[in-house]
Subunit: 118 residues, 2 copies
Amino acid sequence: MANLHDIAYDMEQAIRNSDEYQTLTKAYKEVNEDDIAKKMFDNFRQLQLTLQKKQMTGQQITEEEAQKAQQQVQLIQQHEVISNLMAAEQKMSMLISDLNKIITKPLEDIYGKSGDAS
Amino acid sequence: MANLHDIAYDMEQAIRNSDEYQTLTKAYKEVNEDDIAKKMFDNFRQLQLTLQKKQMTGQQITEEEAQKAQQQVQLIQQHEVISNLMAAEQKMSMLISDLNKIITKPLEDIYGKSGDAS
Ligand SMILES: [Ca+2]
Ligand SMILES: [Ca+2]
């Protein structure tokens, strides 16, 4: 059995070589080379983060904020390089989640699905 | 280069075989076989979770709760099987954190250290 850290480095390299990572890298580059797309995408991410932070700290999200987020999603989906990036991010996120499910199985066997010891 | 999922299964197996995991499994079993230790540990975990939830939702932690947590830590540290378990958990958590640092490097290269795209 190879050393755990060696396996981690193999996994790092295999992630870099994966279709998912290659596609994501390309999609991210395309958004960053398109000034308008980049600005739209940055604004959208910023709003998402603000709303997430509010939710996590139990603050109320106003109807105005919810509407603004909805409008930005619609605007963004019409922009091809951005919708490509969001699709690529989702595929990458599914891959990472798959890998995590496998890797965290030993700890689940001890603690159960929640990951805590109670 | 081996398939990503194959590498993940190799990593799962290597985690199971690691000293850290073997020690954690043994320490967890010993606490669970000791009724008093188990009850103390469960109470402690429960209190920790309650306080964490409060912090994450921006609620105030009362002085009474902070004192209670402090007392439980002191009580628990005197119980050998529990302090063994907590030490084993910390070593396991450091190992997982090391592996995660390696595996998440490709995504950091795209998004930067924070993991978001902004
Ligand atoms: Ca592939
Ligand atoms: Ca070892």
